[in-house]
């Protein structure tokens, strides 16, 4: 962790136009929760549905995609990363810092909104809110690790990430049962299910498998990003 890199990254993130999405996207489920609450449609089934498909299934990966790729992708594209790479700092420290900043942003803009949405919908009933907040927290860690690594490896990280987050997670992930276990969303649901006290959450993977896969993905993503940044070659327009 390097405080200087974290500070520059955070300023760059929040100064970009893309940052507006970070503020706008989490407002959607909160707004929906307020409406459902006012119309009295906030029963447990509907609430679980909103939290699962809208919050955990769509907004969490999208926000993590913006945060995860945003903390390092533009810096590599524009060449400013040179200023950080020309310092005697171990590369894994750089990527770990980027990952921590991305995760911090995901907590503020995705996990806390999950908590707020849950509280507005069901309060603390059945532990639904606590469950989905815990799920969002671990899901955010995994998504951020994946997207930071992706941003270091590929210039098309945002496109690949979008396809993964939207197409894979929401289409294939919901169709083929075997594919469902290779889904961050399902791991997060598994954690949510373990924390919550309701049968409304039906994850496709068991808790031990989910935990192991989450740890592997976070560690693997961080390791991969650090390694690849160490051999990042200059784009030679020569």
């Amino acid at each position: 962790m390097n405080a200087t890199i974290a500070a520059i990254t955070l300023r760059a993130m929040l100064g970009r136009r893309r940052a507006l999405l970070l503020f706008a996207l989490p407002a959607l489920p909160i707004l929906l929760a307020v409406i459902l609450r006012m119309t009295g449609d906030n029963d447990l089934g509907t609430s679980a549905g909103v939290l699962q498909s809208l919050v955990l299934g769509t907004l969490l990966p999208l926000l993590c995609l913006i945060a995860g790729t945003g903390v390092i992708g533009p810096e590599i594209d524009d060449g400013q990363i040179m200023y950080i790479l020309t310092k005697p700092i171990p590369r894994p420290v750089i990527t770990t810092t980027k990952l921590v900043v991305a995760f911090g942003l995901a907590v503020v803009f995705a996990v806390i909104p999950t908590l707020l949405t849950g509280l507005l919908l069901t309060g603390t009933f059945s532990g639904l809110t606590a469950g989905f907040t815990a799920g969002a927290l671990v899901g955010a860690a995994a998504y951020c690790a994946i997207f930071v690594a992706l941003a270091v490896i590929s210039r098309n990280a945002v496109t690949i990430g979008l396809i993964y987050a939207l197409v894979w997670e929401s289409l294939i992930g919901n169709l083929a049962s075997g594919a469902r276990s290779a889904s961050v969303q399902q791991w997060a649901l598994s954690v949510a299910d373990a924390v919550a006290d309701t049968d409304r959450i039906t994850p496709a993977v068991s808790l031990p498998v989910a935990v192991v896969l989450l740890v592997v993905v976070v560690a693997g993503g961080a390791f991969l990003a650090g390694g690849r940044l160490g051999t990042l070659t200059a784009a030679t327009a020569d």
Partner: protein
């Protein structure tokens, strides 16, 4: 005193060879890396700066390998060609951040010293995004100098600068070298290199074409067949006189005038007016036909190969 040593360095991308078997040693003082665009200068600087591994060969700084060795950045300052720095930071914030990243004992003082060195103190509290090209280049220099490195690598530092900014930067680079640093800069403009570098390395098409001080390079570049286009009042008569004189290898008569291939640049330019006067032929136009840097370079490669 630091020394960069390249030994049989090559770099290729797929089937394209960008740098081909280059060996050179770069010591204290200003070294100019001269070559036309696309010659492999940036590839070479990127390898020296640790941003690209050589495909074969070795690059060492005082005996230490550069690739995958971030510790060398304690001794190297690199000014990349690309303009973009962190535009949202002020000059001072940027240089201070770089000092902190180097974990210097007193980053604030180091940043101030570096900013003073490039005379950017008056503008240090403005955002980099609002700087002129020359100011950006200087603040980038400050960021590369903040840890007082013995080696400074500059990739096309004069690109896009106006003449005044160019002079300022030349002064600064000279001062850096006078303090005993090893300074290497790349350029595709002979005049820049000639004015600044005490030692010149010429790269053409990925190969090391020439090496030496600017006089040696200048001589290499002038002691070669030069082609001139000459228009006069009586081309036919002038052609005969030039041939008779012997300072030209061939003279070709065409609709546009004479195409003269001179064997000796100095002798020919000195003789032509005299020959013309003696023959009573009025010269209308004398222009060098192949003075583009590329043709000079390709001649050098031919000679070196």
């Amino acid at each position: 005193m630091s020394e960069l040593r390249l030994d049989q360095v090559s770099r290729w991308y797929g089937n394209v060879v960008a740098v081909n078997g280059i060996s050179m040693t770069i010591g204290p003082g200003v070294t100019g890396l001269l070559g036309p665009n696309g010659a492999g200068k940036s590839t070479l600087i990127h390898m020296m700066g640790g941003f690209l591994p050589p495909s074969t060969g070795t690059i060492e700084l005082d005996g230490a390998t550069i690739w995958k060795n971030p510790q060398i950045y304690r001794h190297v300052g690199l000014v990349p060609e690309r303009e973009s720095a962190y535009d949202f930071l002020t000059g001072r914030q940027f240089v201070l951040a770089m000092a902190k990243l180097h974990k210097l004992p007193d980053p604030g003082a180091a940043a101030q010293r570096a900013l003073a060195m490039v005379e950017m103190e008056p503008a240090q509290d403005r955002e980099i995004g609002k700087y002129s090209k020359g100011m950006k280049q200087r603040v980038k220099m400050a960021s590369a100098l903040v840890h007082d490195p013995p080696v400074l690598l500059l990739d096309e530092p004069f690109n896009g600068m106006d003449p005044r900014q160019r002079l300022q930067l030349m002064d600064l680079i000279r001062r850096m070298a006078a303090e005993g640093r090893t300074v290497l800069f790349s350029s595709h403009i002979l005049e820049e290199v000639e004015r600044l570098a005490t030692h010149i390395e010429v790269i053409v098409a990925g190969r090391h074409a020439a090496s030496g001080d600017f006089r040696a390079i200048r001589r290499l570049m002038t002691d070669r067949p030069h082609v001139f286009l000459v228009r006069s009042a009586d081309d036919r008569r002038l052609a005969a006189a030039i041939i008779a004189d012997g300072s030209a290898r061939s003279v070709e008569l065409s609709g546009q005038g004479l195409r003269v291939e001179a064997t000796d640049f100095r002798r020919f330019t000195w003789l032509l007016p005299q020959v013309a006067r003696k023959e009573g032929v009025r010269l209308l136009e004398v222009s060098p036909a192949d003075e583009s840097l590329e043709s000079v370079f390709s001649y050098l490669v031919g000679g070196a190969g």
